[in-house]
Amino acid sequence: MEKTVSRICLASEPSIVHFLQVSWEKTLGSGFVITLTDGHSAWTGTVCESEISQEAVDMAMEKEKYVEELRRALTAGAEAPGAYKFSFSEESAQLSCDKNLQDVSFRLGSFSLDKVPNPSEVIRELICYCLDTITEKQAKNEHLQKENERLLRDWNDVQGRFEKCVSAKEALETDLYERFILVLNEKKTKIRSLHRLLNEGQELEKNTNLDR
């Protein structure tokens, strides 16, 4: 089950923050339970899939698009100040939500709620949900932090190996050239000495021929 809790301000009581808790099974479009509380009283209502579909038809909107709009309105809360206007009448226990555009606003949805006889239970559940979410996010934080540290260690490790490899490659090249030069110059020395012998031999032969 998905659940969100967000802050809203009612047009009728802008100074008192209210909390909107919305919970749904698979998708919001398959129906949801909406709970409103001001920290003292609480009202709750269930919106079924057919009502959502009907609402989308009435607004001549594609159902997916309508559900997306609804989800944003009911879960964005204070994160989207001014984007939506919520009105609630305790008499009729009717919660309505309007979407504000530049200069017009249109009714996104209106939900009939029932007053909760024992609001403290609902409020406790809402606070427990918040505390569970905090615990969950803290755990995720710690996991990501550890993951971060591991990645940083791995990065340092492979960066170190890479730097070692670069210097090893340079050292290899220098080392091989040095060896090559030694061996090659040995051969050149040999060639020079053979050449000298050959020249001497040819000198000798020339002289011998002269003698003869």
């Binding site: 050239y177 040095e178 090559f180 030069i181 090659l184 050149k188 020395t189 060639i191 020079r192």
Partner: protein, 39 residues
């Protein structure tokens, strides 16, 4: 000309490395670079 060619052929191998004069790092690198072009 042929005589120069012949002179070089006596002094240098086909990769341009002298038979008689000792080589050093720069020269050997140059010879190797030449081989790279050849291949």
């Amino acid at each position: 000309c042929p005589s120069t060619k012949q002179h070089f052929a006596l002094e240098y191998d086909r990769y341009g490395d002298s038979y008689f004069v000792d080589t050093d790092l720069d020269q050997l690198k140059e010879v190797f670079a030449g081989i790279k072009k050849l291949s």
